[in-house]
């Protein structure tokens, strides 16, 4: 079957075409238009600007991806319908609904986080070929808006076992970068500087590391960085590198400890990471090492699928259809689909 997927939940406009059958996934097209340069100067995504840019880019991108064959041989349209910025979501959804309705194609509503999780299937063929062998899986979802530990029992079956009580990991990176005057987005900058820093230089707190639950808290860690900064007078480049390294070390230690502990407690058959922060090399290295120690396979998405993209949305849609766990709308029912900016993966689907 052939799926056209649209993703516009934040500041990336993305379109993909996936040809899938059985356990084979063939990505035919994958285009991402990133607005990052537009939002950089504001230190974060500006919803109004993001929405305007989606309006400008979405139709040309769809045109480009479809080419002269248009929607010939297409079987499904898939679209991210949450979580995300409501003003961004509605544009991808309006496009998808219109395409689905006018071409009489079924529309699959995909959860953005589920998309990130399925980027692992797109990146690891052995996972796609033999999913059963690796489920249940413990998935660490880390991005600008999310930090969650999700137990994936089967296709479309998710249980939230822990989450951040305040800031998401990506957000903590962004805010620390802002405190240090480093620019936006914070993740790549902080982790790059951390490479030249001493991770033992500052003893930052490991929030909630010994709590008996799987929740996280990163707001206080950011405050600890702030306190340290305020106490110092002359801050050298090396100090900044050391602060980045020590901050990152604290973040990774907490994520790692809780992930491994949850994996053991829930007797999973594999560990996965998903979301934008899955691009963080140090975090991946630490997870590879610790998973090996407890003899569990560890999967992570290819770098190109860590950021927002539509290929992962198409993949999630495929498994939604394949396992009959998805929300599939037909005919004028497609117009009933509404954006859900805070859509929790483990809550019932639509």
């Amino acid at each position: 079957m052939k799926i056209l997927a649209i993703e516009s939940s934040c500041d990336e406009t993305a379109i993909a075409i996936l040809e899938a059958s059985g356990h084979s996934l063939k990505l035919q097209k994958n285009l991402v238009y990133s607005q990052i340069d537009i939002h950089k100067k504001y230190g974060g995504v500006v919803p109004e600007l993001a929405a305007r840019k989606h309006v400008e880019t979405i139709i040309p991108l769809v045109d480009n991806v479809l080419g002269k064959n248009k929607l010939k041989n297409m079987d499904y349209i898939a679209v991210t319908s949450g979580p995300g910025l409501i003003t961004s979501l509605i544009l991808g959804m309006a496009t998808a609904k219109t395409l689905a309705f006018t071409n009489n194609l079924p529309l699959v509503a995909v959860n953005h986080i589920e998309g990130h999780i399925y980027s692992n299937w797109l990146s690891n063929s052995k996972l796609a070929k033999n999913t059963k062998k690796y489920l249940p899986a413990l998935v660490l979802v880390v991005s600008g808006g999310h930090t969650e530990l999700v137990l994936m029992k089967g296709y479309g079956q998710y249980k939230l076992i822990g989450q951040t009580l305040d800031d998401a990991v990506g957000e903590a990176y962004d805010k620390v970068a802002k405190l240090l005057g480093l620019g936006y987005p914070g993740g790549p900058i902080v982790s790059r500087l951390a490479e030249q820093g001493d991770k033992q230089a500052y003893d930052f707190p490991r929030p909630m590391i010994d709590k008996q639950n799987y929740n996280f808290s990163f707001s206080g860690l950011k405050t600890a960085v702030l306190y340290t900064l305020e106490k110092k007078k002359n801050i050298t480049k090396q100090d900044i590198n050391d602060l980045c390294a020590s901050f990152q070390n604290a973040v990774i230690e907490v994520l790692l400890k809780k992930t491994i502990k949850a994996a053991r407690e829930h007797n999973v058959k594999s560990i996965m990471i998903a979301g934008g922060v899955a691009a963080n090399t140090e975090l991946k290295k630490a997870l590879i090492k610790e998973s090996k120690k407890i003899k569990l396979p560890f999967f992570y998405p290819d770098l190109k699928y860590t950021g927002d993209n539509a290929a992962m949305i198409a993949t999630a849609a495929y498994y939604n259809i394949f396992s009959k766990t998805g929300d599939i709308l037909k005919g004028d029912k497609v117009f009933d689909l509404q954006p859900r900016s805070n859509w929790q993966l483990s809550k019932n689907k639509i």
Binding site: V45, E48, L85, I86, T87, G145, D166, D167, A168, K222
Partner: protein
């Protein structure tokens, strides 16, 4: 203009709890203070005192989160974050207007100082980080 000097997180929470008890519904709380001042801590304690069971997570990414409350008089708590905001119109775009001026809804806006003007009725809460992790909380 009540002013409080607090020494730790627990004391901040106590002030938020006290404020929550005096809310009747329809209030607009405008919080200001730098990164790390404790705005989130304040809002979390306030929400808890209002009877919200869910975790109040940062709305920085989605700008606004809406929580349902079972209390008879107040049935919604709206948590807004202007940290990433550039224009106040952005708040209208995400639908904040739907929640303002309803006497059964409480709206708390973090980084409210980014908005050039606030309604007169807004309860302004400023948290200032002082030396030795002490804070000054001003409510008016």
């Amino acid at each position: 203009m009540p002013e409080y000097l607090v020494n730790n997180q627990r004391e901040t929470e106590a002030i938020a709890t006290k404020l929550a008890k005096n809310l009747k519904g329809g209030e607009l709380l405008a919080l200001s203070g730098n990164l790390g001042a404790g705005k989130t801590v304040f809002v979390q304690a306030l929400a808890k005192a209002l009877g919200i069971k869910e975790n109040i997570t940062s709305p920085t990414f989605v700008l606004m989160k809406v929580y349902d409350l079972k209390k008879a008089k107040i049935n919604k708590f709206v948590h807004v974050d202007c940290y990433r905001l550039y224009r106040r119109e952005d708040l209208l775009e995400i639908g904040l207007e739907d929640y303002l001026i309803h006497d059964n809804i409480i709206v708390a806006i973090e980084w409210a100082d980014k908005l050039r003007s606030l309604p007169d009725r807004a309860i302004k809460i400023n948290i200032e980080l002082l030396k030795d992790n002490k804070r000054k909380i001003t409510i008016n």
